[in-house]
C-alpha cells in the first residue's frame, strides 16, 4: 500500500507535535523515521495509525484520504516499544485477538494463529501468559499479533529499544527479512541511527516536529543537506569545525588556527569567500599520517576493530578512527591527514549545506 502525508500537522495548543510533514512511501517500502526523542516521530506514527487526529493536512492510503477513518478500519499492524501485550490473555489469545475482532471462523483463526506463531518461533508457547515470557519472546508475540491479520501497513514504534544488544541485532535482521519476504509497507520509528541505516530503504530525519531530510541511507550519509543531518547520521558523529576557505594559487585552503587543509576545487569553490563556514569530516575519513595537521591525542577509546581517538588541534577537537596496531597513547603528538574528497561545508547561520541543495 502506498502512503502519502500532505502538510500533516499536529498541535496541542502551542505545543507542536508535527509540523507540515510531506512524505510519500512507496508500496512495500521500508521507511524509518529517525530523530532524537521528542522530535514528533511517534506523533506522526500515531496519526498514521489513526490514534491521533491531525490538526491539519492529510494522510492518504493508496490515494484515499483516511483522516477520519477509525484505526480498526485502516488494516494496519503495530508493534510498540512496550510490546503492549494483553497481560490477562495467553499468547494464543494475544495473537488471535485481531482475528477474533474480525470474526474469522474459529478453525481458520486457529490455523492462521499457529502459522504466524510458528513463523515467529513461538509456536510452543501458545498457552503461556506474557508475564511468563522473556523480553525477546514478548517481542515476537507482539510482532505476530501485528502480522496475523495480514495488514497493508506495518508500524513499528521503537520496537527493539527494550531488548539487550545481542537480541536487538538478531531481531533487526529478522524484521528486515520478514518485511522483505512479506512485502508489507512499513514505517519504523527509531532514535537509533544504526537501526535506521541498516534496515530502512529510505530514512526520514525529523527534528522539532519538522522533516529535516528524506532519502536513501547512503545519500543522507554522503550528502547531508543540513548540519543536523550531518551530526545525527553516522556513528561516531561527523567532526564539525569552523574554518575560513580562501583561494590561493589556484588551490582552496580551509583554515583556522593550527589548521590548514587543501580541499578539492569542486567542493572548495562553493565555500570560498563566505567568511566563517563549518567544515565537516567523518572520523573514518581522517587518518593518522606522516605530515599534515599536527595535534595532541587527548583520549584513546578502543572499539575493538578501531580505536576512537580524540585529537586536540589548536582549540578544536577532532575524532579519528585509527588502526589499533599503531599503539597510540594519550598525550602523544600526531599528525592527521584528511580525505579531502569527503569534506562537507555548511553555512553556520542557516545550518544548510553549501555543497548539496535540493
Amino acid at each position: 500500500m502506498k502512503v502519502e502525508l500532505e502538510n500533516l500537522t499536529k498541535r496541542w495548543g502551542n505545543v507542536v507535535g508535527a509540523d507540515s510533514m510531506n512524505l510519500d512511501i512507496k508500496d512495500a517500502e521500508f521507511v524509518a523515521f529517525l530523530g532524537p526523542s521528542g522530535c514528533g516521530k511517534t506523533t506522526t506514527l500515531l496519526m498514521v495509525a489513526g490514534i491521533y487526529k491531525p490538526t491539519a493536512g492529510f494522510i492518504l492510503f493508496d490515494g484515499q484520504v483516511v483522516n477520519h477513518m477509525a484505526p480498526k478500519d485502516r488494516n494496519i499492524g503495530m508493534v510498540f516499544q512496550s510490546y503492549a501485550l494483553y497481560p490477562h490473555m495467553t499468547v494464543f489469545q494475544n495473537i488471535s485477538y485481531p482475528l477474533k475482532l474480525k470474526k474469522v471462523p474459529k478453525e481458520k483463526m486457529q490455523e492462521q494463529t499457529q502459522r504466524v506463531a510458528d513463523m515467529m518461533g513461538i509456536g510452543h508457547l501458545m498457552d503461556r501468559k506474557p508475564a511468563q515470557l522473556s523480553g525477546g519472546q514478548q517481542q515476537r508475540v507482539a510482532l505476530g499479533r501485528a502480522l496475523v491479520k495480514e495488514p497493508d501497513l506495518l508500524l513499528f514504534d521503537e520496537p527493539l529499544s527494550n531488548l539487550d544488544a545481542r537480541l536487538r541485532l538478531t531481531m533487526r535482521a529478522e524484521i528486515k527479512r520478514l518485511q522483505m519476504d512479506m512485502g508489507i509497507t512499513s514505517i519504523y520509528v527509531t532514535h537509533d541511527q544504526v537501526e535506521a541505516m541498516t534496515m530502512a530503504d529510505r530514512i526520514a530525519i525529523m527534528k522539532d516536529g519538522q522533516l529535516q531530510a528524506y532519502g536513501l541511507p547512503e545519500e543522507l550519509y554522503d550528502q547531508p543537506r543540513t548540519l543536523f543531518v550531518a551530526g545525527f547520521v553516522g556513528s561516531p558523529p561527523m567532526n564539525l569545525v569552523n574554518v575560513e576557505v580562501a583561494r590561493e594559487n589556484g588551490e582552496y585552503h580551509a583554515r583556522r588556527e593550527g589548521f590548514d587543509v587543501v580541499v578539492p576545487a569542486e567542493r572548495g569553490e562553493k565555500a570560498a569567500s563566505k567568511g566563517n563556514v563549518t567544515l565537516g569530516i567523518r572520523p573514518e575519513d581522517v587518518t593518522v599520517a606522516d605530515g599534515g595537521i599536527s595535534g595532541e591525542i587527548y583520549v584513546v577509546e578502543p572499539l575493538g576493530r578501531d580505536d576512537l581517538i580524540t585529537v586536540h588541534v589548536g582549540d578544536a577537537s577532532v575524532h579519528v578512527l585509527a588502526d589499533p596496531t599503531l599503539g597510540l597513547r594519550m598525550g602523544q603528538a600526531v599528525t592527521l591527514g584528511f580525505n579531502t574528497h569527503k569534506v562537507q561545508f555548511f553555512d553556520p547561520q542557516t545550518e544548510k549545506s553549501l555543497l548539496w541543495t535540493d
Binding site: K72, F80, A84, Y86, L101
Partner: protein, 299 residues
C-alpha cells in the same frame, strides 16, 4: 579484660532486646482497649449481665451463660432488616462500581471541556461533610416521592431512596479511586487494541476492565462494607421498622423509657459483624491494593 568485655556485651545485648521489645509493648498497649472491647462484646452476648469482663447471672453471682440474647434470630423482623442491609450494600457495590468505573475511564482517558474542573469539584464534594446535606437531600427525596412510579421505589422512606443517596455520596471517592487505577494502565495497550480492530467500548470491556479487576473488587468490598454498616443516612431518611437496616434497627432497640437490654443489642451487633468478618478474612489483600493502587492517582 575478658570479664569487662563480657559485661559490656551483655549490657549491650539487654539494650538491644529492650529496643526490639519496646515497639511491641507500645503496640499491645495501644490496641488493648479495642481487643478488650471485642472481648466484652463476645462475652456479653452469651450472659445475662456483665461486670467488667465477667458474666453475671440473674442472682448477681459470677458465671452463668445463656443463649437468651440470641432469641431475636427467631423474630422475622431481624431477617427483613438483614435483607434491607444486604440490598443496600449490594446496591452500593453495583451502583458505585458501575458509574465510577465508566466515569473514571472517561476522566482518565478522554479530553473534554470541563474535565479539570469536574475533577477538582469531585474532590471538593468528597471532602464535603455529608451531614450538612441531610436537609437538602430530604427535600430532594420528598420531591422524588411525588413522582409516580419512581417515587414508589426511590422516594423518602424507601430502600431505593436511601441507596440512591448513599451511592451519590460515595461516587466522588469511587471515581477518584478508579481513576487512579486507570491512570496506572499504559496507553499502548489500548492503542494496540484499537489498531487490532476493537471499538472503544470493546477495548474498555475486554482489555481495560480485566486489568483493573483488583481495583474494581477492592472498590466493591469497600462499598459493601460501607453500605452494610450505614447508619446516618438510613436513619435520617426512613421511619419505622419497615425499611430499617441493621444499625437503624439496633438504634430502635434502645428505648428512651423502658430499660434497655444491652446484652441483646450486643448480640445484634455481633450478628451484624459476622458477615463483615468473613468478608474481611477473604478480601484483606484486595483491600490493601485500594490504598496501594488508588493513592498513586494523579491528575
Amino acid at each position: 579484660m575478658a570479664t569487662i568485655t563480657f559485661e559490656t556485651e551483655s549490657r549491650y545485648g539487654a539494650r538491644r532486646f529492650l529496643g526490639r521489645a519496646l515497639p511491641y509493648v507500645l503496640l499491645i498497649i495501644s490496641i488493648s482497649p479495642i481487643v478488650l472491647g471485642y472481648a466484652w462484646l463476645i462475652i456479653a452476648t452469651f450472659s445475662y449481665r456483665t461486670e467488667g469482663l465477667f458474666p453475671i447471672d440473674a442472682e448477681g453471682n459470677v458465671g452463668g451463660w445463656t443463649l437468651r440474647n440470641w432469641e431475636f434470630l427467631s423474630d422475622p423482623a431481624i431477617w427483613r432488616v438483614t435483607l434491607t442491609s444486604f440490598i443496600l450494600a449490594v446496591g452500593m457495590v453495583v451502583g458505585v462500581g458501575f458509574v465510577s468505573s465508566m466515569a473514571a475511564y472517561a476522566l482518565s482517558r478522554m479530553n473534554f471541556a470541563g474535565r479539570k474542573s469536574f475533577l477538582s469539584l469531585t474532590l471538593i464534594l468528597h471532602a464535603f461533610p455529608s451531614v450538612t446535606l441531610l436537609i437538602a437531600i430530604f427535600f430532594v427525596l420528598n420531591f422524588l416521592s411525588k413522582i409516580p412510579a419512581i417515587g414508589q421505589w426511590f422516594g423518602y422512606n424507601t430502600v431505593g431512596g436511601v441507596a440512591l443517596v448513599m451511592i451519590s455520596l460515595d461516587l466522588p471517592l469511587g471515581i477518584w479511586l478508579m481513576k487512579g487505577f486507570f491512570d496506572n494502565l499504559s496507553w499502548d495497550m489500548e492503542r494496540a487494541a484499537l489498531i487490532d480492530g476493537a471499538s472503544r467500548f470493546r477495548v474498555w470491556w475486554e482489555i481495560i476492565i480485566p486489568l483493573i479487576k483488583p481495583g474494581l473488587a477492592a472498590l466493591a468490598i469497600f462499598n459493601f462494607l460501607s453500605g452494610w454498616s450505614a447508619f446516618l443516612i438510613p436513619f435520617t431518611f426512613t421511619v419505622g421498622t419497615k425499611v430499617a437496616n441493621m444499625p437503624v434497627y439496633m438504634r430502635q432497640l434502645i428505648s428512651d423509657t423502658a430499660p434497655t437490654n444491652w446484652n441483646m443489642i450486643a448480640a445484634v451487633g455481633m450478628f451484624q459483624l459476622i458477615p463483615v468478618l468473613i468478608f474481611f478474612i477473604f478480601t484483606q489483600e484486595m483491600l490493601l491494593s485500594v490504598y496501594a493502587g488508588g493513592s498513586k492517582g494523579g491528575t
